[in-house]
Amino acid sequence: AKDDRPTVRLALDAPLPAKVPSGTVLRVGDKELQKAIEFSGQAEKLSFDVSWANISGGPETLEAFRADALDIGSVADIPPIHAAWTGQPTKIVAAKFRQDPINHPIYQLGVAPGAGVASLADLRGRKIAYSPGQAQGALVLRVLHQAGLTKGDVKLVELASTGDVYPTALASRQVDVAPIGGINVKRYLAKYARDGGTTISHGLRDDPGHLYVRAQTLEDPAKAAAIREYVQAWARAWVWIEQNPDEWIDRYYVKNQGLSREDGQWLVDNAGVPDIPASWSDVIARHQQTIDLLAKETGNRSLNAADLYDRRYESVGATAFGRA
């Protein structure tokens, strides 16, 4: 791998430099916010160049990190844990949530037609799609934990959640329950509600959205400063989305992603209101719970959740979010 560590190293507890040296380039994989940052005009204001990559998901961002092809990845709360477990230290530099997360979940539990699952208690003895390593897999473990069940009480069907595999597995009744997210919830119901397909809420918070970077990236003062500025733009873009839903739907979901207007509207309606908390203490505490559960279920060593965060950035996003 290319080893272009800076000659001047920034200590991980040194104050963040404010000025971004000219010529700095930040490589960012965050296809959704990329567009929001562009549409909202934040992109022009950045004092450095951004090289956008369409990379998302835990394994992919991690691979890109290892290849030194990416500086910032946008993921949920599981990938930083796996990164740590596989010897790639990363730091979360921004955390975004949803207001009223229980009623605005990313995932729903899809229930196959005729499976007769109406509440979490009904999960006992059911076939549940499970993808170890992915956010959906962790969610299933948390849901079981919440329902007071163990892995032995249900039948976990190992199935990678790529594309529309989960809705398909549900529709063909290969599994009774599978976590499905985003527009697939709407699609699943639209297609299979008439056969008896339903969804139920899992009743947990599944809303974390993090920007994470390699720890070694933060040792580069230029990148550290650029990341700070990027997080600000990122926070303001969230505000812009919240304030310009129609333009967002039209320019992003319809024109860029090829969805219909209704799909875009549904997505915006269900996304809830973004929340970028000023304090990460609760965030870290919740993350710790997830880590503990995963560590137990997968047999990995436990981690200190606080180590996954770079709290120098704690206020950066929130401040920009509030002032936008």
Partner: protein, 249 residues
């Protein structure tokens, strides 16, 4: 045979249409042909289809060209020299046995996530069938013609041009039939990574959003592209191998 080679695909289309009409094939999982037509119409109207196709064609074309070149050169080297054979053949067999999906992380590692990596991945997929078929074609050239070349004391250049290349041509062309299809198929894998265009990206996006109709458009597109590319190579085959008199004639 009135329709000839079109008969099979037409039959397939008929079965599909019938299945969709009668409801045996669920529209929710396998869109009807007419849905595919209207969806394609929409995609074309919005410019997405042509654009994706153009980008993908460039990628596939470049990868194909490189792969064919590399495969042929390696096959000649391995087929004509014992050292070449010893050094090249094993690694190619290993390469071919390793799943592309699993190799991708390493390629990303070495080549990054940009266009370069995509072209190299396509090239790696393409060169294997070209290599194996050309190599096989070359190694199975009738000994009698090799003897003739020896008896005529043909120089190495002329031996390659007059005996080896034409003798290996049927093998090469069969390899090319696999290579063209492989180039298209590689798009599915490479365009999942850091792409914002191309038919592989279009399908991946549609899969994430559960847009069955677009997925099926993609599948049909792949089918058509495959048929056309394969047909083109077969045409070349018929032309270039017109000297053969075989069971097929």
């Amino acid at each position: 045979m009135p329709f000839g080679s079109a008969l099979g695909p037409l039959l397939l289309l008929a079965v599909w249409s019938l299945g969709s009409l009668t409801g045996v094939l669920d529209e929710r999982t396998l869109s009807a042909p007419w849905t595919v037509v209207t969806t394609s119409g929409d995609l074309i109207a919005s410019g997405r289809l042509q654009e994706s196709l153009l980008v993908s064609t460039q990628r596939a074309g470049l990868g194909l060209a490189l792969g064919v070149l590399i495969g042929t050169v390696l096959a000649l080297t391995a087929g004509l020299s014992r050292w070449g054979e010893a050094v090249i053949d094993g690694p190619v067999q290993i390469k071919r046995a390793i799943p592309a999906l699993a190799l991708l992380p390493l390629l990303i590692l070495w080549l990054g996530i940009d266009e370069q990596m995509k072209i190299v991945t396509i090239t790696l997929g393409v060169f294997v069938p070209v290599y194996i078929h050309t190599h096989n074609g070359l190694r199975t050239i009738d000994q009698r013609y090799v003897e003739l070349a020896e008896a005529l004391r043909l120089g190495p250049g002329r031996f390659v041009r007059r005996v080896v290349l034409p003798g290996a041509l049927p093998g090469f062309l069969l390899g090319l039939r696999f290579a063209v299809v492989s180039a298209w198929l590689s798009l599915v894998v490479v365009e999942q990574i850091n792409s914002t265009s191309g038919i592989g990206y279009m399908m991946e996006l549609a899969r994430q959003y559960g847009q069955t109709d677009i997925i099926i458009v993609g599948l049909v597109l792949y089918g058509i592209l495959g048929l056309l590319s394969d047909g083109a190579v077969r045409l070349v085959q018929r032309r270039a191998l017109s000297w053969r008199r075989t069971l097929a004639d």
